[in-house]
């Protein structure tokens, strides 16, 4: 039992720090550069992302292992996962609007962006590829979400300061954001080899 728990913990740490989605797997970059200008939006986005990632990891695990594997239609995984995520986003959009309009007002726009985001789709695809168990899939979803949140918050706090800095004209805006991300990624390579799974 305890070794099982250690493994889950290792999975979360590895997904969030060592194989950080943004800095070593390069996923979710559009959103990463799009919403990291302000701290407030970055925090809102991170919460929504982590929640959706875990729920979609759970749903797609059930569909993949209980329906697609027995029917031998695993090659349809992309189409099915996209469908699950789009449906899920629509569902949570509707539920949130009815149950908590305040939260919907704050996080609603991010929800719409999520359905076409690579980072959300990558979680079920990696889960299916690595043949994780149900609990492991959840842990992987949580770890990836936390890692994305960490990346967004670091980036947002740097970019808020960067607004005041004097940047050479051709580097203004995105190019500078890329260079900054490169430097953070360099720091994150220090985590590699922390845990060998």
């Amino acid at each position: 039992m305890s070794s099982e728990f250690t493994k889950l913990f290792e999975l979360i740490v590895s997904a969030s720090l060592i194989n950080n989605f943004v800095f070593t797997r390069f996923l979710g970059l559009c959103i990463f550069f799009g919403v990291s200008k302000k701290m407030e939006t970055a925090v809102g986005m991170s919460i929504t992302f982590t929640a959706v990632m875990m729920i979609s990891a759970a749903c797609s695990w059930v569909v993949y292992n209980l329906v697609m594997v027995p029917l031998e239609i695993t090659f349809l995984e992309i189409i099915v996962f996209i469908g699950i995520i789009a449906g899920l986003v629509q569902l949570s959009d509707t539920i949130m609007r009815k149950v908590s309009p305040g939260l919907y007002y704050k996080l609603g726009i991010y929800l719409a962006l999520i359905s076409t985001n690579c980072i959300i789709l990558a979680v079920p695809l990696i889960n299916a590829g690595e043949k994780y168990s149900f609990i492991q899939s959840l842990a992987f979803g949580l770890g990836s979400g936390l890692g994305f949140a960490l990346a967004l918050i670091i980036m947002a706090s740097i970019r808020e300061k960067l607004e005041l800095a004097e940047v050479p004209a051709p580097f203004k805006g995105l190019p500078m954001a890329f260079v900054v991300t490169g430097l953070i990624a360099l720091a994150f390579t220090g985590f590699s080899g922390l845990i060998t799974l």
């Binding site: 996923l27 559009c30 190019p175 994150f188």
Partner: protein, 216 residues
């Protein structure tokens, strides 16, 4: 008449390569631009995959545009895109398994490319199939161009060599530098740095051209 429509098609292709280059200008679909560009070969194959998907999606959507109900168009676009991505994925797994082993995940994630959905929604669903194909071709070539440029610099500086695919399964490795190369360029961090610097270069060239045009 035919000559004017020809120049239009040419303009459509050029638009995607220069004016609206997906990566350098619109800053969309960035994920693979860094993830797969640590070798020239992977960059080229990824670019070709995107080119194929973009053209086929545009073609399919423009042929079907009259029978798709506008209310359900987005789910249908997604279905068309994921169908073509699955085709690409299976083709690559069969013909270039060594490349597929490295970039497979990113091939699957072409589904989530904002640029492909955007072209389907903004262009192919409103135009007939010839302009749609030209548009897809331009966008795809622009993407291929960007990936090739990035991976060219990264592999050259990071490994000191270039891997050029000469056929489906064959390749040729050119070695230029025999001393210790800049390892950072093939690390994740180098990808971000390379894209940032290339973007700045694009901006700089544009600014200079604009200044020249203004002084004339």
């Amino acid at each position: 008449m035919s000559s004017s429509s020809n120049t239009n098609l040419k303009e459509l292709v050029l638009n995607g390569i220069v004016k609206e280059n997906t990566i350098f200008k619109l800053a969309l679909s960035l994920c693979p631009s860094i993830a797969v560009t640590n070798s020239l070969k992977n960059g080229i194959y990824m670019g070709l995959a995107v080119l194929f998907v973009q053209v086929m999606v545009n073609l399919t959507i423009s042929l079907m545009r009259n029978i798709i109900h506008p209310k359900v168009r987005l789910p249908i676009f997604m279905l068309v895109i994921s169908g073509w991505v699955t085709v690409t994925q299976l083709l690559m797994a069969a013909f270039v398994p060594d490349v597929y082993a490295k970039v497979g995940l990113y091939i699957a994630l072409i589904v989530a490319f904002a640029s492909i959905l955007a072209r389907a929604e903004m262009f192919a669903s409103k135009n007939s199939f010839l302009p749609s194909m030209a548009d897809g071709l331009g966008m795809g070539i622009g993407f291929l161009f960007a990936l090739t440029t990035i991976s060219f610099f990264r592999e050259l500086l990071g490994k000191g060599s270039l891997t050029v695919p000469t056929g489906l399964a064959t390749q040729h490795v050119f070695t230029f530098i025999n001393t210790k190369p800049l390892l950072i360029m093939i690390l994740p961090a180098g990808g971000f740095l390379a894209v940032g610097i290339l973007m700045a270069l694009f901006n700089w060239i544009n600014a200079r051209q604009a200044a020249k045009a203004a002084s004339h």
